[in-house]
Amino acid sequence: MALSGRRTRADMLQRLAPWARSAEAVVLPVLALLTGLLVFALFLLAVGKSPVQFYQLVYLGAFGSGFSWQNTLSRASPLLLAALCVALPARLGLVVIGGEGAIVLGGVAAAGVAMLLGDVSAAIALPLLAIAGAVAGGLWIGAVGAMRHYRGVNETIASLLMAYVAIALMNHLVEGPLRDPASLNKPSTLALDADFRVGLIPEIGVHWGLLVGVIACVLSWVLIERTTWGFAARIAGGNLRAAQVQGLAVGRLVVAFTALGGAFAGLAGMFEVAAVHGSANASLAAGYGYTAILVAFLARHNPLVIIPVAIMLAGFEASSGLIQRRMGLPDATVLVLQGFVFIAILVSETLYGRLRMFNPERWSRP
């Protein structure tokens, strides 16, 4: 009796084992997120504000009404695309944080091409604008990958430096060669032809960039998890030497993944120009590229998880205005919140594989 009882218990544990592993990948990030939010609540208490009111306002401002949902989702669109610029290179073990530069240049390239196009229909123009944005972003971040692989230049530092260069380049172009003389207070490129503007998804009321972002995330997931290219990238990210011994073209992988990530970020810039601002100007450097770093790390570089995480963080940013008005807090409040959550999620890395309940191989041991 006792023997069979032990066997059923062992069977049950064996059946639970794969679940325990998946649970770890869900429970730990959620715990880390909650810890970050809790630390931020303590911060708010320390500065004499009510955390309860804060989180209520976040909910109201981000998801409380149809309008706030629209605001949140239209901010999620660039985050989805720019987060891929962090997540794709991360699969190869690269930390690229300069997506902001690709967004900015993608937007400027799209605006520039729009100025060149004459009387063409939107069906031709919009794909051309998208290609211009993607190519500009892809070349910019692809160059970071190439410098990393062929010259050993640290990609984290290089990509951020290139973001500053990109912003300077945008200022130069927008204030000089591409400037619309009519834009006085805020130098901008010529406003896009009404035909070239990206419209809104019916029923939802958010521009099509959102759908493109979701599709890009799904495709990236397929690329990483279901293709030989993605498999090769995961090997190279896990152990570079082993990948080289296997004869994988690591250099090509690095350039391809960084360029693809940059292309997505450039596409985000194109949508910011063609769907939101209507022309390229300093509003392009709105910090989406930096928030996207946090999105990718929170999603642990899984493109499918990026979708809900991007919507959540976009929600925090969308509620920023309401929080400033109702609680008298500065606009940087959301940045502080992001900082705490970021640190919590990075520190949670130390717990993987160390908690007994998530690791079946430790169950048998006393």
Partner: protein, 308 residues
């Protein structure tokens, strides 16, 4: 004498004066980063420290009426940031580069959060020493009006070089940075040494930040630092982890940063924004030239994650 008499000679003169002004924060941040990296950790959070140091230095200087108390506040804030970075990175499997990025965002967020109320008021600034009294030319006098922190930084560079070379403390830091195993075999506490090196390095970055708001540009606003903290990391690589090298590299970077304003001062406005990109392009170029895909960089601490 008036300004036009010097003609184009005003450009190198303005660059010299500008280089000293602009290089001082680079000097402090790069010395701090050098100290941290020599102990085997990389701290990308110094950009956040720079901004937070600028805010806290300015705020405390305004509230206390003394710029030196402001500098002290910047250093203390930096030490606190460094302590957090150092302790978190001591946990197993926590990546120092990623923590640095998070600290950078947090530092900026906190600086903007608490700094809103200090954008308007005027805080007392740091004193400077006029080495150009002998000259009648206003540009020469302006170029040779050198802030006190520059001299302190130069002295610090020399002192740190001497420390690494000859003192027991320097040997401990170098051993911890080159081989954690060897350091443990010697009975050293590797984690403690790294945490303290990060805190001390970050304190120096905090001083660099306070300099930004208290001397040049000399006021607090949200755009006060644009990547200097990050460029300092590249600068340390270029300087081959040598404090004296950091001094010369900081001057060079300062010169690149002073190029735009110097050309503007003589009326060259063409490509104004492109000159603002000069320091970044310059840094990238230096990284490109000094990096290598195959060789381990000369002088690099063995435990450093970016060179492995």
């Amino acid at each position: 004498m008036n300004e036009t008499d010097l003609g184009l000679w005003a450009v190198p003169l303005a660059i010299l004066g500008g280089a000293i002004r602009v290089s001082t924060p680079f000097l402090f941040v790069s010395l701090g980063e050098c100290l941290t990296e020599r102990a085997g950790r990389i701290n990308l959070g110094l950009e956040g420290t720079l901004v937070f140091g600028a805010m806290s230095g300015y705020a405390v200087s305004y509230l206390s009426g003394s710029a030196w108390v402001g500098i002290l506040a910047g250093a203390l804030a930096g030490a606190l940031f460094g302590l957090i970075h150092g302790i978190l990175c001591s946990l197993p499997r926590v990546n120092d580069i990623a923590i640095g990025i998070a600290m950078m965002l947090l530092g900026m967020g906190l600086a903007f959060f608490f700094g809103k109320g200090f954008i308007q008021p005027v805080a007392p600034g740091l004193p400077s020493i006029e080495l150009g009294r002998w000259s009648d030319v206003p540009q020469v006098r302006a170029a040779l009006k050198i802030n006190v922190l520059f001299f302190i930084g130069a002295g610090l560079a020399f002192a740190m070089w001497w420390m690494f070379r000859t003192t027991r403390l320097g040997l401990i830091i170098r051993t911890v940075g080159d081989s954690a195993d060897a350091a443990r075999a010697m009975g050293l506490n590797v984690t403690l040494a790294r945490v303290l090196a990060t805190a001390a390095g970050d304190a120096l970055a905090g001083i660099g930040g306070a300099y930004l708001s208290l001397y040049y540009p000399g006021s607090w606003n949200e755009g006060i630092s644009s990547g200097q903290g990050l460029m300092a990391v590249a600068l340390v690589i270029f300087a081959r982890w040598n404090p004296l090298g950091c001094f010369w590299a900081a001057l060079l970077f300062g010169g690149a940063g002073a190029l735009g304003p110097a050309l503007q001062s003589v009326g060259i406005n063409q490509g104004y924004y492109l000159f603002y990109a000069a320091p970044y392009v310059f840094t990238l170029g230096l990284l490109f030239v000094t990096s290598s895909p195959t060789r381990v960089m000369a002088g690099a601490p063995g435990e450093l994650s970016i060179t492995k």
